[in-house]
């Protein structure tokens, strides 16, 4: 039962002085913390009189703390902000409250998120923010489109917008401008590995990891080998694509929405955000969903629910998109966006999510093994594409290691 607040600002009973302890694995960078503290939470406290302590935390620390609190029966955490995968795992351990009987008025959650947040009939979390990885195209690149591909195909993500067409485009760009114009964030802190397991693998094999060493994987790796000469050679040192796009080092880039936002905001007239190309098995892309969940026996569950209510209001969601680049999970927020760079981003994201041939990938939750998972793809890429080894040999060698990670954690191979 949601507990009704008396008029805001009035001093009520003991409950009014509740202090919500909110642990989050998201919005941890310093500038994002400041935004949470100074803008989001101070407004919430003004409105409701509820104090909130926001604690940024890593997934492994959160997992350990939650487990020990539940086991000792001394739960102090009121609210958790975490990715879908982590919350799915916490739920499987029975550490989370069922939120089915709680209602949020005046907002409609996007159906995909609704679907994912209900696991086995239990409402595990409330979708809070989302993110994805997209392609950004400098409008100049449209002057070099290959035959048979139109700007409209790319913008809408039609059947013609394939990886093969992308290769032709990259080729033409290099031939006619004199230097490679496609960029990937393949540096040590870059997210290129997400492109490998969540985009091009599903597009060619239908799975992220299940078909890692299958016969469908070899053509994909050979495709990447063919594409690489048309990719900017500094890609292996780039961690984020905003700067290379703004400096005009590349005309087309793929990256996380939060990491290209700066480019769009600074030069909204130069760039468009488009869906990624499709492969033989469809258009593979990753959907990142961040949810809000309440642990079982949380001391201030009612106050935490009020914070959930506040964080999923359309106007709060728009503010989050403007400041930190995470996308809304409620439909009303998208409608509230003003014309400008963020609308360009949001439209690109919506176009990608709305393509009929979508193969949605969720980042698998391997906890502490997540690093090893990424390392397998990274190593395969380096050996096959950069060093020229045979794809079948390398994937056969690394495949068992990859599947072993899933066995160790005890989750299905995606």
């Amino acid at each position: 039962m949601a507990f009704a607040i008396v008029a805001s600002g009035c001093i009520g009973g003991q409950k009014e002085e509740a202090k919500v302890l909110w642990l989050s694995t998201q919005l941890n960078p310093p500038e994002e913390r400041v935004f949470v503290q100074d803008e989001l939470l101070s407004k919430f406290t003004d409105e409701t009189g509820i104090e909130v302590e926001f604690v940024p935390i890593s997934y492994s620390d959160l997992s350990m703390r939650l487990e020990s609190e539940v086991q000792t029966g001394k739960v102090t955490i009121d609210l958790i902000g975490e990715l879908h995968g982590g919350l799915d795992y916490f739920n499987s351990k029975g550490w989370l409250m069922d939120l089915s009987d709680k209602k949020l008025e005046g907002r409609t959650f996007i159906s995909t998120f609704e679907k994912y947040s209900t696991i086995g009939g239990k409402k595990v979390y409330i979708p809070w923010m989302s993110a994805t990885y997209v392609m950004v195209v400098n409008k100049k690149a449209f002057d070099y489109l290959p035959d048979g591909l139109t700007k409209d195909d790319v913008m809408k993500g039609t059947d013609k917008w394939t990886y093969d067409a992308f290769l032709e485009w990259a080729k033409k760009l290099k031939e006619e401008t004199g230097s490679p114009q496609v960029g990937f964030p393949a540096g040590p802190k870059g997210l290129f590995v997400r492109f490998l397991h969540g985009y091009i693998y599903p597009a060619y094999t239908g799975y992220q990891a299940k078909a890692f060493d299958s016969s469908d994987a070899a053509p994909m790796w050979n495709y990447l080998k063919e594409l690489w000469p048309y990719v900017h050679p500094s890609s292996t040192t780039w961690d984020a694509m905003s700067d290379p796009l703004l400096k005009g080092e590349v005309l087309i880039a793929w990256d996380h929405t939060a990491r290209i936002k700066t480019a769009i905001v600074e030069k909204p007239d130069d760039f468009v955000v488009v869906p990624v190309p499709r492969g033989p098995k469809g258009r593979g892309f990753i959907l990142v969903v961040v949810g809000l969940a309440i642990p079982k026996d949380a001391p201030n569950a009612d106050a935490a629910w009020e914070l959930i209510d506040y964080l999923t209001k359309p106007e709060t969601q728009v503010k989050v998109l403007e400041k930190v680049g995470f996308f809304p999970t409620v439909k009303e927020a998208s409608g509230a966006l003003p014309e400008g760079p963020l609308k360009i981003l949001a439209e690109g994201v919506a176009a990608q999510a709305g393509t009929p041939d979508a193969v949605v990938a969720m980042i698998p939750n391997l906890g502490a093994k997540g690093g090893e998972f990424k390392d397998v793809y990274r190593t395969a890429f380096e050996r096959i594409v950069l060093k020229g080894e045979d794809p079948a040999t390398v994937t056969k060698e690394l495949g068992p290691k990859l599947k072993g990670l899933f066995d160790e954690v005890g989750i299905e191979v995606p």
Binding site: P233, T236, T237, E249, E382
Partner: protein
């Protein structure tokens, strides 16, 4: 009498306790992480590490970087110290300028060099504006590993030559003038004096400088990480990567132990082969 013999031990006790607690304990823990699995002795982690694709590469690059960097630094430092050991106008200012890099952290040095050599950095901008090149020269990227290697060597030489320079200069100033005056009496040339007197007398300083620099060269990390990422893997970088990205404490410990082992070995070799002979009485 009793108390007198105990005193030296008491005096070094605080330092020793500190080392035991902050160096000895982590070292023992690293050994446990590296050589045990579920509490029993096991070589699994060692096998895992040496079968890792990056391990040999990291070992190779760490040694290659040390070979490229340390002798260059030593030669440069000796030349600079010989120049600065003479009196000329502005000498003090020149010495100050030379030791500025001492005050800069390796991460900051890496960033400085990155901004100079990046595709749109100072150097490329300058060359493009003068009209020497039309496309930027790439120093960074997997395809340009030899350039990355060069950039790392340049940055490391720039950053850490000063410490060698300071040690060598101090050594030069310790050499008694009498030896050199005696050599003058016998009509020795400058090179002769350098070869027969100055360099032999500098040996203790050179030994200290070499040991310090080689040990740090084994730990090279910050500059490499910033300029080349994992294009050029190095031992310390892989240890960091295993710890923070892969969360494999055992493998990370092995990297740390390999660095420690290499350092001990090289230190011992220096001490063995760079004995300062003139201090030994020859009968």
């Amino acid at each position: 009498m009793e108390r007198k013999s105990l005193l030296p031990y008491l005096l070094i006790l605080p330092a020793f306790a500190y080392l035991l607690f902050f160096v000895g304990y982590p070292l023992v823990q690293a050994l446990f992480l590296a050589f045990t699995k579920n509490g029993v002795f096991s070589l699994d982690t060692v096998r895992k590490t040496i079968s890792d694709y990056y391990f040999w590469s990291a070992l190779k690059y760490t040694i290659a970087l040390a070979i490229a960097i340390v002798p260059t630094q030593l030669a440069l430092a000796v030349v600079l110290a010989l120049i600065m050991n003479r009196f000329f106008r502005g000498r003090d200012l020149a010495i100050y300028a030379l030791v500025i890099p001492l005050t800069i952290s390796d991460v900051a040095a890496g960033l400085i060099w990155y901004s100079m050599l990046s595709p749109y950095g100072f150097l490329n901008k300058l060359l493009i504006n003068i009209g020497i090149i039309s496309q930027p020269i790439y120093f960074f990227g997997y395809q340009f590993r030899s350039m990355e290697f060069l950039a790392i060597v340049l940055a490391e030489v720039w950053r850490a030559t000063s410490i060698v320079f300071v040690i060598i200069l101090a050594g030069l100033q310790m050499i008694s003038k009498e030896y050199l005056e005696a050599a003058d009496v016998f009509g020795a040339s400058y090179w002769m004096k350098l070869r027969r007197i100055v360099i032999p007398m500098l040996k203790p300083s050179i030994q200290s400088a070499l040991i310090i620099r080689t040990l740090f060269a084994m730990q090279v990390f910050g500059i490499v990480w910033i300029l080349a990422g994992r294009d050029i893997p190095v031992l310390a970088g892989e240890g960091f990567y295993q710890l923070t990205e892969i969360h494999d404490y055992g493998v990370a410990s092995i990297y740390a132990l390999v660095i420690a082992g290499l350092s001990i070995l090289l230190g011992a070799l220096y001490i063995k082969f760079l004995r300062a002979e003139y201090l030994e009485v020859k009968v």
